[in-house]
């Protein structure tokens, strides 16, 4: 019998429209993920790891499918009037519930399993890059289904089913599912799930906690595979053991418990709400009266207004006061609160001040997401409301026109969305006030109604249309979901032009300095899309269900008659707005300027490389002096630069051609090279080729004259250019000035993108021979003489001394001149700044900041002067007469950037950092000291552009930064910092697509030159002593600084060799020239009390060392024999900041080592390499609790 009942359920579900739609959707999702390249870099798109990750991601989406089936399974009796019949049959409660649940779950599993088909088929047939594919592992798909998807579906199904059964309401079921989804996000955030935290390193304890609690097993998956290398990911199956097994068992247990409770609570009684009212009441009746008709007012605005008002209010009240919406709002408040509290979370576990901009950024994404889902669900509710409660015949027979119903329902939806917009604003303000932050900026908050509220209103129009077209609301919900997700992620669909992204025009982030950039452009796009929405609204109106539902073709046939002349005119007017605005935008984006899609951009760069790469090895003249006038027009967001370069042939052979490159968007008015003839002007890439009729002899000079206007200030099609903005312009050399020679930075980096364009493998990260002679020319040192003009209320900052300042024609002029040749990096900044200056030993230290951002300026000045002192004493004198620290708008994506004598620093990367509570990481010291040290490492030591060059700049800056941090916070502050760097290094190298270079060959892998570099420098200092290390660095700077030949990594090794003993140098060379790992493990450790009150500690330490450049594929073991720190602590070293009871160096060799020493004080734990001076993957076993032996 149960089998028949389940069989019936199966037939029922599989014939629902939702079934084939779900199958198609999941098949498509499975198919598209590999096509989109889902998965970590360097891992095969069809590897077991990626299959597992895809399956778990998609299994989250099954919540919505489950909801459709569960809600349907439970509510269909009631909705179709079968309730009394079914409930009265002899079918038992268990059988009834079991059949419904198994049917719904089975249908969902069936739908989901098609995603595996898609995932499996896609790599075989979609023509993907074969390099990104490995052998097919059919077992991996089944394994993922079995251990990941099935328990997840069971759990989600149990929850959704319980909600559906106990509420018997479709809407409650849907809201329940959104609830579940959001709850998962919330729990994920609270337990620090890796899915939420991104790739931030997590403490092992937090990862285990997340692994146990995460009901969808994603955290457990990440916990097990956290340090897997690409090779392991490509071959290894997830093991059903450890915390993953615990998690799966817990999830299944929880699901069964939920089902058991559902069974207990459910009963066949009819819902209590339907109890009939008592028949008669005793309230005195008013005198009986005769029926008097009341004339219906003539058709007119007044009656329609009244009808619209009451209808809208009725819709709004019915939804907003309903339990589902209230539950959703309760959830939304908590999600908003979490987002708002998390919003100021910034890099390195620091926090920002809760500015309104920060709040806004935290709110926007969850709001757009949740409100979109809300619209999908509630559109189904409002559109079908009359039909669901069967009031349609009465309402449809009233003379209220369709427009009233349409506007009322649409209006109610928009009101709901706006109500949802209001909630986080209040939450955000509350949070700001609770932290003592009183600059609330309600106007900035209200922008949410513009930037998020308008797209939501547009989407409401879409879902109304979808529900009007859809034969039932379930299909409408599914379609609405698909469209909603598409609207939220147009980039994923490859839509980059604003004219193609419905309701999602290009946006620039709000910044306190620069406000809302591009608000007008946003409005223009909104008018454009509103035109389309208007057309859709008229279509919806023309197809509106009235009376007995006609078939869709029938409604389409009657549409012209329904529209009449006025409808036709209205639709035509909207279409005209759509096309007119669209045409205007298109004219601006594609005709006035050149629009480039992502692919076209790649093609352009490939063409540039093909056409000009050979210039890389041809001798080119160098820029030695720049003389320029820079005109900045902040309010118009445009600029002009003009001037000349003095060019010299610094090479040993004559120069007969010169390559000049401009950013392709720029509008050159003049580019002339004296003594040369323009051979080619390639406007597509902005490249000029000049030929010297009489080659430029070595040592000879010439002049390049240029006059260049900014890109045409038009309507943005995709991204924004932040170079010149209303407040806080930053115009770099690359953005506005001609560059000499071949620009290697234009080369494509993605191997696949290169190969399909017929280019060889990328040079990124490797391939540059470590030989300066073969490295080709580099931009030389130069002087700058610049006159910058800007708006009258702004200050402009340039390189070098300010030699003149005046006002003319309502503008301010600043004349800057460098005091000697400097590295060829310069830029110009302009903004309404407040300036703080201190004069420090002849250097003017200046902080230019937004007036409202004075929070950390004192600390910045202190750090700057201390850094200048420290670096001056250790490495040599600071070369400039001023050090300018300049705030930029937060729209710039970098942390900070050091130009000669100038440090530019975006507002949210330091100026808005909330340093009041102290905190783990002193970001301001760390970042500022680092950037200041670049005045030595980078701007004095300007290495050759070869492998290892970035070590000389960034690793040495990291070392300098640690010196300042240690001086400020004490030596105990370094190990936690190094631990963090080690975790970053280990985590990042798991994503490495090619063999990892050692430090002396690194080009642009930040986790090598920063994170590994920090550990190596600290170990180096420990090995040879700080004085010896600094001596070596001073020598490097002396020999290869400003005047000398460009330095390479080999030069650093030479300097270090001079300061170290041969045994030490062997280690140094290994650290810098190898990718080496140690593995240390305390196997046994005990302590025995001695008669004098001290303890003797004895431990067995196992040690080994490997070289592992390829990321776990073929590590080679090498002998280990070196002095390594051993320390003893009273309590676990990770749980305390207390100093160790003992710390000493012990010689360890490959294999088992016995260490033994005496300690004062009662020892608790022993730790090998406690100060993080070696790189090691598994560190948990470095610490061991000491067995206390009784005194003998």
């Amino acid at each position: 019998m149960l089998r028949e009942v389940i069989g019936f359920e199966w037939r029922y579900h599989s014939r629902q429209v939702a079934f084939p739609v779900g199958v198609l959707a999941f098949l498509g999702l499975g198919f598209i993920l590999p096509v989109l390249g889902y998965g970590p870099p360097g891992t095969h798109l069809n590897s077991p790891f990626v299959v597992m990750q895809s399956v778990e991601l998609l299994s989250l989406l099954t919540i919505f499918v489950l909801t459709v089936f569960c809600a349907n399974a439970v509510s269909r009796d009631a909705e179709h009037g079968m309730k009394e019949i079914v409930y009265a049959t002899s079918v038992g409660k268990l059988r009834y519930l079991a059949a419904r649940f198994v049917g719904a779950l089975g249908a969902s599993v069936a739908v989901f399993s098609f995603t595996l088909v898609g995932l499996f088929a896609s790599p075989l047939v979609a023509g993907l890059d074969p390099e990104k594919l490995g052998p097919a592992h059919p077992a991996a798909y089944l394994w993922a289904l079995l251990v990941m998807a099935l328990p997840n579906l069971l759990f989600a199904g149990a929850v959704v089913f319980a909600v559906a059964v106990l509420s018997r309401s479709v809407l409650a079921s849907y809201v329940g599912s959104v609830f579940l989804y959001m709850l998962y996000m919330v729990v994920g955030m609270m337990i620090g799930s890796p899915l939420m935290a991104g790739s931030k390193p997590q403490s092992p304890g937090a990862m285990v906690r997340a692994a146990i609690l995460d009901p969808f097993g994603i955290s457990a998956f990440f916990q097990q595979t956290w340090y897997w290398t690409p090779a392991q990911r490509n071959a290894q199956l997830l093991a059903l053991d450890g915390w993953f097994l615990v998690n799966r068992l817990l999830v299944i247990g929880l699901a069964l418990a939920i089902l058991a409770v559902t069974y207990r609570v459910f009963s066949f009684r009819l819902a209590a709400g339907a109890r009939p009212a008592k028949a008669e009441m005793d309230e005195p009746r008013r005198g009986g009266s005769r029926y008097c008709p009341v004339p219906v007012a003539p058709e007119g605005a007044a009656g329609r207004w009244a009808a619209l008002r009451v209808a809208t209010l009725r819709e709004f009240r019915a939804t907003a006061a309903g339990k589902p919406f209230l539950a959703l709002m309760a959830l939304w408040v908590s999600v908003a609160a979490i987002s708002v509290v998390d919003g100021p979370d910034a890099e390195y576990r620091t926090r920002l001040y809760p500015t309104t901009g920060t709040m806004l950024e935290a709110i926007e994404t969850p709001l757009a997401f949740l409100a979109t889902l809300m619209l999908v669900y509630f559109a189904a509710e409002v559109v079908w409301r009359e039909r669901i409660v069967r009031a349609d015949e009465i309402v449809d027979a009233t003379p209220a026109p369709n427009g009233i119903f349409y506007l009322a329902k649409g209006g109610a939806l928009v009101l709901l969305a706006w109500l949802m917009t209001l909630v986080p604003i209040l939450v955000g303000m509350g949070y700001q006030l609770s932290t003592g932050f009183t600059r609330l900026q309600p106007g900035v908050y209200l922008s949410l109604f513009y930037f998020t509220g308008l797209p939501l209103a547009l989407f409401a129009v879409v879902v109304l249309l979808v529900q009007t077209l859809s034969p039932n609301r379930y299909l409408g919900i599914l379609l609405g979901m698909v469209l909603g997700l598409a609207m939220l992620n147009p980039g994923e669909l490859g839509l980059s032009h604003g004219l193609l992204r419905f309701g999602a025009p290009p946006r620039a982030p709000y910044t306190e300095m620069n406000g809302f950039l591009g608000a007008g452009v946003f409005g223009l796009y909104m008018v454009y899309w509103a035109g389309l929405a208007g057309v859709l609204a008229f279509v919806t109106l023309g197809l509106w269900r009235r009376g007995r539902a006609q078939t869709l073709p029938g409604r389409v046939r009657t549409l012209p008659r329904r529209w009449g002349r006025r409808g036709m005119a209205g639709a035509a007017a909207c279409l005209a707005v759509f096309l007119g605005t669209g045409g205007f935008v298109f004219y601006n984006t594609n005709l006035l300027t050149r629009y480039e899609t992502g692919e076209q951009g790649l093609d352009r760069r490939a063409a540039y490389e093909r056409a000009y790469r050979h210039y890389e090895t041809l001798p080119q003249p160098s820029v030695v002096a720049v003389r320029t006038t820079v005109e900045l027009y902040p309010s118009e967001r445009r600029f002009r630069v003009a001037g000349s370069y003095r060019l010299e042939n610094r090479g040993g052979s004559p120069v007969d051609t010169a390559l000049v490159s401009l950013r392709w968007q720029l509008r050159p008015e003049q580019v002339e090279l004296a003594g040369a003839r323009l051979v080619r002007h390639d406007t597509a890439s902005g490249t000029y080729v000049f030929a010297f009729p009489r080659p430029l002899a070595p040592g000879a000079a010439t002049e390049l004259r240029f006059r260049i206007a900014s890109p045409r200030r038009a309507v943005e099609a995709a991204g924004f250019d932040y170079s010149v903005v209303a407040n806080g312009s930053y115009l770099t050399r690359q953005a506005a000035f001609p560059r000499l020679g071949y620009v290697r930075g234009y080369e494509l980096e993605d191997p696949y993108a290169r190969r399909v364009r017929g280019l060889g493998p990328p040079r990124k990260g490797m391939g540059l021979v470590n030989d300066p002679a073969a490295a080709g020319p580099r931009d030389g040192w130069l002087t700058v003489d610049a006159t910058v003009s800007t708006a009258a209320d702004q200050t402009a900052i340039g390189p070098g001394d300010l030699v003149g300042e005046w006002r003319q024609g309502g503008r301010r002029y600043f004349h800057y001149r460098t005091d000697g040749p400097a590295t060829p990096m310069f830029g110009f900044v302009s903004g309404r700044y407040q300036v703080r200056r201190v004069s420090h030993h002849g250097v003017s230290v200046e902080v230019y900041h937004h007036p409202a951002h004075a929070y950390n300026v004192d600390q910045m000045l202190a750090v700057a002067t201390r850094s200048l002192d420290m670096f001056g004493a250790r490495f040599g004198a600071y070369p400039h007469r001023q050090l300018r620290i300049v705030e930029l708008p937060g729209s710039w994506g970098f942390g900070a950037f050091a130009l000669p004598g100038v440090i530019v620093w975006p507002e949210d990367r330091g100026f808005l950092t909330d340093a009041r509570g102290g905190g783990e990481v002193d970001l301001i010291t760390r970042r500022l000291a680092h950037e200041i040290s670049h005045q030595w490492w980078g701007h004095q030591l300007y290495p050759a552009q070869v492998e290892g060059g970035s070590m000389l700049v960034e690793t040495l800056a990291k070392y300098s930064e640690m010196l300042v941090l240690e001086a400020a916070h004490g030596p105990g502050s370094l190990p936690p910092l190094l631990r963090y760097e080690r975790e970053i290094y280990q985590l990042s190298r798991t994503n490495m697509p090619f063999p990892e270079p050692p430090l002396d060959r690194v080009v642009d892998l930040d986790y090598v030159y920063y994170s590994k570099g920090a550990i190596v420098m600290d170990a180096l200092r420990d090995l040879i002593g700080e004085d010896a290390l600094n001596r070596a660095l001073r020598r490097l700077l002396r020999e290869h600084g400003t005047a000398g030949p460009p330095a390479t990594a080999a030069d650093l090794l030479v300097a270090l060799r001079a300061e170290s003993a041969p045994e030490q140098y062997a280690l140094i060379e290994e650290w810098i020239r190898q990718v080496s790992f140690v593995d240390l493990r305390v196997e046994a450790a005990s302590a025995r009390a001695l008669p004098d009150g001290r303890y003797r500690v004895t431990a067995t330490v196992r040690a080994r060392k490997t070289y592992d450049p390829a990321g776990g594929i073929a590590p080679t073991e090498v002998p280990l024999d070196e002095m390594i720190d051993v320390a003893v602590y009273a309590s676990h070293p990770l749980s305390t900041d207390a100093a160790p009871l003992y710390a000493g160096k012990h010689r360890l060799r490959t294999g088992r080592n016995e260490v033994s020493f005496e300690v004062r004080g009662r020892p608790g734990f022993i730790s090998v390499d406690p100060f993080e001076r070696r790189i090691e993957a598994e560190r948990a076993d470095n610490v061991r609790e000491l067995q206390l032996a009784p005194r003998r």
Binding site: A277, R286, Y291, I394, T398
Partner: protein, 298 residues
């Protein structure tokens, strides 16, 4: 005056709900009598603009209902056969809500009518209760109240008395006949009694076709002297059926009363009966059924 001309409707599933229906309906109560599935509701919904006919014309006071449903709805009162309401909305609020939708823009007049209708339908005491919680009779009374909102000139009530107890039905009839003095009221029902009590004019609809229409009195008159009754044991019914034109059978004290249509007394056991509307109804249905059978046989 409502004129229905050659109205036809076939559903997508092939059911021909209306076949060439032609009727003229004057002011007053008009009864539309027919068995379940005869096409009554289709006709009602078509008159209520909720459905479009495939062909044919409906004119009300000279206005084309099919072409301009919006104008027609302005003086239309419609009580569907089966309806639901928004959950949790009180009778007063819901009635006022519908009144606004009906175009009663003047708040004072609207409220007065809403209150008066609540009284007339005996719902005044329950005006603050949710209609969704009403019993069947109360809900039906609410239905008639909403149908009377405004100034309807055509009132369509579809199977209104199903599920009402006798007292409620009586009250309902009184209200309808009061309203019917000035406007067109079409009452669709399968209960002969309703028509007999209320309607000066009527039509009989079956299988989408109007079989007869006219005044009940006239239709009854046509049967004068032709209806005979006999009480027989149940086993004997079949024999009578075979021999005579039986228009209805009814159990009476365990035996069966047979009504037959016959010119002159069929035999001794039959007694003459004063024909009533039920005899008319059943005799017409019977004729139509045998005609259909004959058609099939041919």
């Amino acid at each position: 005056m409502l004129t229905i001309t050659n109205l036809s409707k076939t559903y997508p599933n092939g059911v021909r709900a209306l076949k060439d229906v032609t009727l003229t309906i004057e002011r007053g109560l008009f009864g539309l009598l027919g068995p379940n599935g005869a096409g009554k509701s289709t006709l009602m919904r078509t008159l209520a603009t909720l459905q479009e006919p495939d062909s044919g014309e409906i004119l009300f006071d000279g206005l084309d209902v099919v072409r301009d449903p919006q104008a027609h709805r302005r003086h239309l009162g419609y009580l569907p056969q089966d309806f639901g309401v928004y959950p949790g909305v009180s009778a007063y609020d819901l009635l006022e809500h519908l009144a606004v939708l009906k175009g009663l823009a003047d708040r004072k007049a609207r409220r007065e009518q809403v209150e008066a209708l609540l009284e007339q339908t005996n719902l005044w005491a329950h005006r603050k209760k949710a209609v969704s919680g009403f019993s069947g009779g109360m809900r039906q009374r609410f239905g008639i109240a909403q149908a009377l909102l405004g100034e309807p000139k055509l009132i369509i009530v579809d199977e209104p008395t199903a599920g009402l107890d006798p007292e409620e039905r009586n009250r309902f009839h009184n209200l309808l006949s009061e309203v019917g003095e000035t406007v067109v009221v079409i009452l669709s029902t399968h209960i002969v009694e309703d028509v007999r009590q209320l309607c000066p004019r009527m039509a009989i609809l079956t299988e989408g076709r109007v079989l007869r229409h006219g005044a009940p009195r006239g239709l009854i008159g046509e049967l004068e002297g032709r209806v005979w009754r006999k009480t027989v044991d149940r086993p004997a019914v079949d024999a009578v059926r075979r021999a005579l034109n039986v228009i209805s059978t009814q159990l009476y004290e365990g035996r069966t009363q047979v009504h037959v249509l016959h010119e002159g007394r069929p035999d001794e056991g039959f007694e003459a009966v004063e024909p009533n509307l039920e005899d008319v109804y059943f005799s017409i249905l019977r004729t139509s059924a045998s005609a259909a059978e004959a058609l099939h046989a041919a």
